[in-house]
Each structure stands twice: as C-alpha cells, then as structure tokens.
Symmetry: C2
Subunit: 354 residues, 2 copies
C-alpha cells in the first residue's frame, strides 16, 4: 500500500521514518528537491497546489494525507478522490479557518475563548473592550504569526489595517494556568488511541517545551472533547488539540488535523509514535490497544543547530535533526529526553537558550 503525503517538511519526514516497520510505501509532494522528507524518500517535486502533481500523487497512491493545513481546498476537492483523503477535507476546511473552527467547536458544546468575526472596519465600531484581546487572521496563521494583541478600538483598527483588512476574528485573551494538548488517533472502526496530555510552553507563540502532565481529571476532559470533535467529523487519523487550562477547565485553543509538534515526544517515549499511529489509522492497520509511556520531555530546536556534542553522547537523549537550513525561529529539530535528571534538563535549556 502506498501513502501520498502533501508537504515534505519534518512531519512528513517523521512519518516516513515511522513507516520503516510498516508494510507501507510513501511518496511526498513538495516544491523543494531537498525537503526534510524528500531527503529520505520518494518525492514528486511540484507546488503543493499544482493540480497535475496532485493528480499524479492521487493516481500513484492508495491513501493521501497532508502535513499542513494551508492548502487550496478547491483544487484538492476537484482533483483528489475524497475516499482516499484522510483526515477528510471537511475537517480540513474547518481547521483552515479560525471562525469556522471555533463555531464548530462551540456547536458541540465545547468551550473556546469568546470571539467575534471582524470582516470590515465597520465591524469594529461598536466593540467595547473589557479585557485584552487577540486579533487573529482567520486563515494562514501559525506559530504565532497572523496574530496581534489589541486592547482598544485604535489598536484594533491599526492591527486590522496591518493585516490588509483580511477576514479576522477578535478573540478574548484567556487568563490560563497553563497550556496543554492531547494527541489522539481514531481509525475507521471508531477506535481511539489517546496519548497522555502534555503541558506545553511557548515562547513568542512558538512551542519550545513539552512535558507529560499526569492529571487524570484533565486527561478525561481532553479525551471527552477529542471524542466529540473527532466522532462528529468522522475524523480518521491523528489530531492534535490545544487547550488552555483555566482553573481545571479545558478551553479549546485550536485543533490541528494532523500530527502535531506537541506529540514529537512519542517517537522515543511511547510504544507507538504519533507518526506510526497516524499511518496505522489512515491505512486501516490495527492500532495498539495498550499504551506504554516513558517519562519523556521534548524541547524544540529553533533557528540554528547549536553544538550539542555534550548532550549527544547521553543514551537517554535523542536528537532529531530535520535537515533544514537555519532561519530565525524556524523549527529545525527537537530533542527528546527520557527520564532526564535535573543536570541534564539544565544543560538542555542552557544549550537551547531557554
């Protein structure tokens, strides 16, 4: 069986690595010849929205998946056989658009931050601010891009104009205790595989550190929310759901219809990684019924690769290099550490300037 992956970044790379013990072939679609995934597997070199290339991908594969949300849905829908695409294009459409996403979630009786759409300058006129807010573009934002903090009409108008008056939402800032997420897989037989929720630390909107939360009450809430979202959308594959924890209540921040950065720890800390799980779900391979987890933490490597020689010799520290060229704040790798001692944690934080 052959799986086509739209996008050749690190998520596709780690899917290919996970496929090495599964009876699956893979091919990615990416405009760059030396993409992180293209370096280790078969590629079709073309723009992600090139109809001919998508058609070639579709014809040569039994199953199609994607590693990023910002794809042209109209082209995908017209070219791909929807029966082959997982997660389905309906949930992709929702996840692409912060307004549709929040409405979908609220309609399931799941809490999000309060929000309202901002489509024109007129929408701003009657807004009263009683707290800080985020102005967020409805589409195309990630890693903290496409969002601005605003606290009055003036800053909101300036921000909206800075965003070229593109459709946006105004979202109330949540005062949270911490951010957390769950990674969940669901297969075609309505079976779920839940990883333990993790606490996630961000810096300028970019994830930098993930560690396991051992909190059964929050775990149950997160699993219930995941079941509602994934069941109602007939979701097949792995999903990441990000939350704010507000005094023990989980508020959904956003969903990612794909493997997720906060699940990279699963490569070295679980019996089945999120990448293997995703492939198992979408290709109808059995999914594990038992989960084995180690005490693991994940640290993102941003910008450029520091000299990790002092860490790399340790047998409980695993360095994953995505083979990307350096660029400020770019995610170019991550470190998984199993049962780290305090000295190791300090050493990692120092080397990564955390």
């Amino acid at each position: 069986m052959k799986v086509g992956i739209i996008g050749g970044g690190q998520l596709a790379r780690m899917m290919i690595q996970a496929s090495s013990r599964l009876p699956l072939d893979t091919v990615i679609l990416d405009p760059k010849k030396n993409s992180p995934a293209g370096l280790i597997g078969e590629s079709i070199i073309a723009e992600l929205n090139d109809p001919k290339a998508l058609e070639e991908l579709s014809n040569s594969c039994d199953i199609i998946t994607y590693e990023l949300e910002h794809l042209d849905l109209e082209i995908l829908s017209s070219v791909l056989d929807p029966k082959k695409v997982f997660p389905n294009l309906k949930i992709l459409k929702i996840a692409q658009d912060r307004l549709l996403e929040k409405k979908y979630i609220n309609d399931l009786d799941i809490d999000t931050a309060n929000f309202r759409p901002i489509s024109s300058i007129e929408d701003i006129e009657n807004i009263q601010f009683d707290s800080d807010c985020f102005l967020k573009l409805r589409k195309s934002g990630f890693d903290g891009r496409g969002q601005l903090k605003v606290n009055d009409q003036k800053s909101l108008i300036t921000g909206f104009q800075k965003f070229e008056c593109l459709p946006a939402i105004l979202e109330q800032c949540i005062e949270f205790d911490f951010e957390c997420s769950i990674i969940v897989g669901r297969n075609k037989s309505d079976e779920y595989f839940f990883y333990p929720i993790t606490e996630n630390l961000h810096h300028n909107g970019i994830l930098i550190h993930t560690k396991l939360l051992n909190n059964p009450a929050l775990q149950k809430q997160a699993e219930d929310i995941a079941r509602k979202i994934m069941g109602s959308s007939n979701y097949i594959g792995v999903m990441g759901i990000e939350f704010f924890n507000v005094s023990g209540n989980l508020i959904v921040n956003e969903i990612a219809p794909r493997v997720h950065n906060s699940g990279h720890w699963t490569i070295d800390g679980a019996n089945c990684s999120q990448f293997e799980l995703h492939l198992r779900c979408i290709t109808n391979l059995e999914i594990p019924h038992e989960i084995q987890i180690q005490d693991v933490q994940m640290f993102n490597i941003l910008g450029s690769m520091p000299n990790l020689a002092s860490l790399s010799t340790e047998t409980n520290i695993f360095i994953h290099d995505y083979k990307k060229s350096p660029r400020e704040n770019r995610k170019i790798g991550h470190i998984n550490g199993v049962s780290l001692n305090n000295a190791q944690i300090q050493a990692i934080k120092q080397l990564l300037l955390l």
Copy 2:
C-alpha cells in the same frame, strides 16, 4: 559528524534508519542508484572498490564503516585513513579468510570445528575421512554459498575442482544441538554491550528464524568468547559471532565484523538496536548501560514479498521491507514479532513457507 558506509544494502539501510535520532549524517557508497540504503539517504554511486570514490567518501566523512566483508583490502588500506575505519582493517582481513579466522580464534584458546587448509590437489592425498566434512572456499562465501559437503577423497577432489582449485579449507562437520549467535558492541573505552544470545534456524545455509535463548550458562560462554575476540583485536563497533552448541559447549562457527542478520530483532525488541549501537560505538557516542529486551522473534523474508496483509494489521508484528527486487533465496525483508501467540507464529510460518 558524518559516517560513511561502504555498501548500500539492507544493513546500511537499517543503520541510516537508526541514525534518525542520533546527531549523525550518513552517506553510502554503492554501485546502484536505487540500493536499499540509497533510497533513503545520500549516496556516492560507484563500485565498492573504486579508489576515487573511496577517497571521496573518506574526505567527506569523519568515520568510515562497512556493511559487507568482501572488499578489496589492498585498495581500502591504500586509500582510507585507518584511524577513521571501524571495525579496523586487521579484523576485516581475518574475517575475510576462513583460514585466518579459524587460526585467530584457535590461538585465543577458543574452539572451532577441526579444519585443515586445502591449497592444491596434493594437499588432499593423505586425508583420511572419519566423518562428513565441508569443503569451504577461504574467501567470498556467504549464505551457504562456496561450501560443499564431502565424505571421501573422490568427492573432495571433485568439489575442489568445482571451486576451480581456489584456496579452501576442509572442515569437520559438527554434530550440534542447535546454532546460536551473539551480537556484541564494543566502544573506544573498552565498554561492552551484549544482547541476549539467540537460537538461529537455517535453511540451505540461509538464516530463516531467530529467537531469544534464555540460557545463562551459554550466555556467559558467548560473552567470554566475544570479549576475547574483540578485546584482542581492539574491535570497535558491533560484531556477530555464530556458534554451534555441542552439549552445552559453544564452538565458534564464524565471526562477522559488522551488524548481523541474527540481530535484526533488536530493532523492535531492544531499547537500542544493533544498528544504533554500532553507530554509537564507532562515533564515540555513549552506549546504553542498561538493556531492555522484549520477547521477540525474527523471520527472514526470502525471494519475493508474499501477501502479508493478514499479518500487517497486527500491532505486535513489524514488517521490514528492504525494497530489493525479488530473486530466489534473496533476503528481501524480515518480520519482527513481539510476544507472538501460537496462532501468529503459525500464520507467519505459513505465509513465509517455513
């Protein structure tokens, strides 16, 4: 740090896969563009004994290793910096030649089958047969090739002539209880990592099935033998040592100065695979001080890939496909099974025609 691997077969492929969580780059040397390893990593496409290509490999890498023994030692010695090559070329020379190998082992007071060199027809004249013997070419044999059973002067002469009177040895057939092997890593600090010994089943001289032996007495014998061989030769990297078990005494059959087929179970059954261990040893990364092993068995897939759909869904069965074209008796993949039940073992054996 960059590791150059001479040869691009499945052993190199699995080394590259193991490198994904280590701070290492790899490049292989192989004459074929689509070698099993070349499909997933950087390649230099040239003959294995091409001095210019070897020089390029040596210049671009910090460390050089190899995945097969039958290399031209003279060229390697003249082109490669010996300080970069692991395992060292001295042990490679010994392992290439059954006569040197057996002498080396016997000189360490380790038992092998009785043997004598056969270099010419005259050597055969005075031989008395009191048991069946194998005539084996000193060089270039593997997977049962380059050896013949003989039981009298006539069949020995015929065999020797069939082998074009190339240097050979005559080796007494051993009546053994079973064949077994140990995979061991040794690093530059004289630290060892021993996997549990496995019982190995062969068919026409080709390994087909490996399962863990839980036998502390044999384990200790195997480890003692490995220490003698590896310590005396200042061996760095992973070595496979094959034994005959004769009433509880281990007789060395042969050594492999590389990762070994009977260690493929370690990918899914150990905290550190033999491929990761080899890379750790030769690049001076720390090696694990604790071993965690699951109850795992390995089955080779020979010839062509059968339809494994019925197995591939199971979460405790891992299928490794080397992406080789089919050919009779060729090793094209293997299956690792963790805590298999009897029905699964029967299903695997049926599908693989074992």
